[in-house]
């Protein structure tokens, strides 16, 4: 019997004309590993919450049609009964816990089930061991990293002994190293324990080979595809592209090669391994010659905009940044990399005078910035925070954009056209009277960037601007940044996403263990195997693909064409 089944499911949120889910007929068998794809805001999370009855029991929405878990409707089951059948892991690791320590959090769920103390003891021990947190049993939750919190989240669900696990973008807020760990863990446990797993994800380059079935939700709220990954990406490629749905880099690349008649795939590749295997089988071998990097993106300007000389920064007695030296030329697109907790955000704050160096100097256009105050510096430097909402002050989008100019004493006649042109440039015209907080994730991000360009700032610093953003928004933002960069703005971006670094940046700064361990061009950086390994940075797929390009006729331009899609 199917573990999960829906019939003609329809969900609509109050005051919305269109249903977010429509005509959903779904049958999922025990042990299946299913991936759910769909455009952002397209009802993936809604589906997850409807499957366990949270919609409409706790979240107000109109729901029609039938849902069955193990043959029973969640509406007829209590929270307790539902939680033993289906478990949800959420995106935000901060907001899925309600207790203070690791063991208390697992116990919370077990107490809900009314288990005996000895049974609880057994389950806590067993599941902490499964996720590798047994040493952290009595630790406070606030001591855990994001990745460990998600592991704990998994342990909590496993402890409830559910058959079905629904993972709603659990790695969206994690760095690449933790993301990989979480995927490996889920895949391993899912197979060992024969769980049915539904993934809602968009960072899938690693996950795809383990997925048996992909269900695609369209922008109209209906299921538009339900197939194996290989069939899906070969046969429905264009549909997916139209709907703005994530397609793995390797598949896009492989498709391109096929379209250009370079190769005819017998087995369409879903991973780099498969890609290489297939090429080898077709007797295509890579040249190991160094590929011409996109030199076009390196500008030949020598106008130093930012320079750090022997800068050291310490919190109390703890030295966070040691003897930092680097400079950024005007017009560069710089990626600041490094593992979590190495002080990237601290460095960024130093650059705009929110913090001050303990020793050494920071020069902005040959002037020491300590001598300027934040307000003065802000007229030439924009700073975009990780959470766009933190920067909002006004009641409407238009006012938000005008704010900085009004502060500089501009009259309405002066600021109005300027604001208007920014609204257009950032596709916010329709939303100009909306409250900034009520915008979508992508719109909020665009607004936060726009507010920082009001004064034609020359340098834009961004602290993980793609954090928690989905694939479509990420692409849109990056294209925007590239356009700004081409207009001559200098960009310094903190990021964990190596694909983005490789595609967009022309300079890398690696901050690790309090020091700048690398400062230079992107191509050389990814060739530095030991350095990368030490900082647990993975080479992006596009880079790995690169040495195949020369081999294949017409391949030279492919990476650039790919990123310009």
């Amino acid at each position: 019997m199917a573990v999960l089944k829906t019939q003609q499911l329809m969900v609509r949120y109050p005051y919305q004309n269109a249903s977010i889910l429509k005509d959903i007929d779904l049958t999922i068998e025990k042990g299946e590993k299913v991936l759910i794809l769909g455009p952002s805001g397209g009802g993936k999370s809604t589906l997850a919450l409807t499957l366990n009855g949270m919609i409409p029991k706790s979240i107000e929405a109109e729901a029609e049609g039938k849902v069955y878990i193990d043959g029973k409707s969640p509406l007829d089951l209590s929270f307790k009964e539902t939680s033993q059948r289906i478990g949800l892991l959420f995106q935000d690791s901060e907001t899925q816990f309600c207790m203070l320590t690791v063991e208390d959090e697992i116990i919370f769920g077990l107490e809900n089930l009314g288990l005996s103390k000895s049974e609880m003891e057994r389950r806590v021990e067993e599941n902490l061991r499964l996720v590798g947190l047994e040493k952290w049993r009595t630790a406070q939750l606030k001591e855990l990293s994001g990745g460990m919190k998600q592991k704990l989240g998994i342990a909590c669900l496993l402890a409830m002994d559910t058959d079905v696990l629904v993972l709603d973008e659990p790695t969206a807020n994690l760095d690449p190293a933790s993301t990989e760990e979480i995927f490996d863990l889920v895949i391993k446990l899912g197979e060992e324990l024969n769980k049915t797993i539904l993934f809602v994800e968009h960072k899938l380059d690693r996950l795809l080979p383990h997925i048996e079935r992909v269900i695609v939700l369209g922008t109209n709220g209906k299921i538009i595809a339900d197939d194996t990954p290989r069939n899906l990406f070969t046969q429905q490629f264009d549909t997916l592209l139209d709907q703005g749905i994530w397609i793995p880099k390797i598949c896009r690349f492989a498709k391109k090669l096929e379209q250009q008649g370079v190769i005819n795939w017998l087995n369409f590749p879903l991973s780099l391994q498969e890609f290489e295997k297939e090429l080898t089988r077709q007797n295509i071998v890579p040249h190991n010659s160094m590929v011409q990097s996109n030199q076009s993106r390196v500008r030949n300007q020598t106008n130093t905009i930012l320079q750090l000389k022997n800068m050291t920064f310490a919190y109390k007695t703890h030295e966070v940044l040691k003897n930092i030296n680097f400079s950024i030329q005007s017009g560069e697109f710089v990626a600041l990399l490094g593992p979590n907790g190495t002080g990237k955000s601290t460095l960024a704050k130093l650059l705009i005078g929110l913090l001050h160096p303990s020793q050494g100097e920071i020069y902005f256009k040959n002037q020491v910035i300590q001598k300027k105050n934040v307000q003065e510096l802000m007229r030439s430097v924009g700073f975009v925070f990780q959470n766009p909402e933190h920067q909002f002050i006004c009641d409407t989008v238009e006012q938000e954009l005008a704010y900085g100019l009004k502060l500089l004493g501009w009259s309405k006649e002066d600021w109005h056209p300027k604001v208007q042109s920014l609204l257009e440039a950032f596709q916010l015209v329709e939303h100009k009277n909306q409250n900034p907080f009520s915008l979508s994730q992508g719109q909020k991000r665009r607004l936060s960037v726009a507010t920082m360009l009001m004064n034609d700032q020359e340098l834009l610093i961004l602290d993980e601007p793609t954090f928690g953003q989905d694939f479509v928004n990420t692409e849109a933002l990056m294209k925007l940044l590239r356009a700004l960069n081409q207009q001559g703005k200098t960009i310094l971006m903190i990021t964990h996403d190596m694909e983005l670094v490789y595609e967009y940046a022309n300079k890398v700064l690696l901050l690790h263990e309090g020091e700048i361990q690398y400062g230079g061009d992107v191509e050389t950086f990814f060739a530095h195997t030991t350095l990368l390994e030490h900082a647990s940075i993975k080479v992006p797929i596009s880079y790995a693909l690169k040495h195949w390009l020369n081999t294949i006729e017409g391949g030279e331009n492919l990476v650039t064409t790919l990123s310009e899609e």
């Binding site: 005051y15 029991k57 706790s58 979240i59 009641d395 409250n435 907080f437 009520s438």
Partner: protein, 199 residues
């Protein structure tokens, strides 16, 4: 979802979180409050007491169910103890009496009117209850009546302004951000929007 009169988990966590946010913001004011109280005495202190009742009137205005003001103030008191307030004892008593005061204010309007006058009355009765409690706790009977009357007046004004007007303004601004869409206040706003569209 049923529109029941009892508080559901979501509303409880939201009330407690609002209490915590106010707690975090108050931290910047505690020292200031002590100075005011030490230097200006009870009358000056009375002028800012309304601030401590903002959370319950705000919760009542947002959730609009009977008992919310009292529950919110008690939740705020308990969370303050969890946080480690060194006024745990008085906070708990005050939480009960202030909450009750504000609750009576809203009950007098039969929980139908969540407009400014009702909220201001709730604020005034909240600070009035605070006055009665501290009167007993800190022995205000030993002061000259003039001072105690002045103090009561200051507190009631403060209640109307901060807990009544202030809470309403903040909640309305918050409602515009869309985060209250699942609560009574946000629903009202959206209903009004729909009506306006129809016109």
């Amino acid at each position: 979802m049923k529109n029941s009169k009892t508080l559901n988990l979501r509303e409880i966590v939201v009330m407690a979180s609002i209490a915590i946010v106010f707690g975090v913001l108050y931290l910047g004011w505690i020292f200031f409050g002590q100075v005011v109280r030490g230097v200006l005495g009870p009358v000056g202190w009375g002028l800012i007491t309304g601030v401590w009742i903002m959370a319950p009137t705000m919760c009542a205005y947002i959730i609009q169910k009977p008992g919310v003001a009292l529950a919110a103030e008690l939740i705020a008191a308990v969370t303050e103890i969890l946080v480690g307030s060194v006024n745990a004892g008085t906070v708990l008593l005050l939480g009960f009496t202030q909450g009750l005061g504000a609750e009576i204010g809203l009950a007098l309007f039969l929980y139908r009117n969540y407009k400014l006058p009702g909220l201001m009355l709730a604020g005034v009765l909240g600070t009035f209850a605070n006055f009665m409690t501290t009167y007993v706790l800190y022995g205000y009977s030993q002061y000259s009546p003039l001072v105690t009357w002045l103090m009561l007046g200051a507190m009631m004004i403060s209640g109307a302004i901060f807990a009544g007007l202030g809470s309403k303004k903040i909640s309305d601004a918050l409602s515009c951000t869309g985060v209250l869409d699942n609560f009574a206040l946000g629903k009202l706003r959206r209903q009004n929007q729909e009506l306006n569209k129809g016109v």
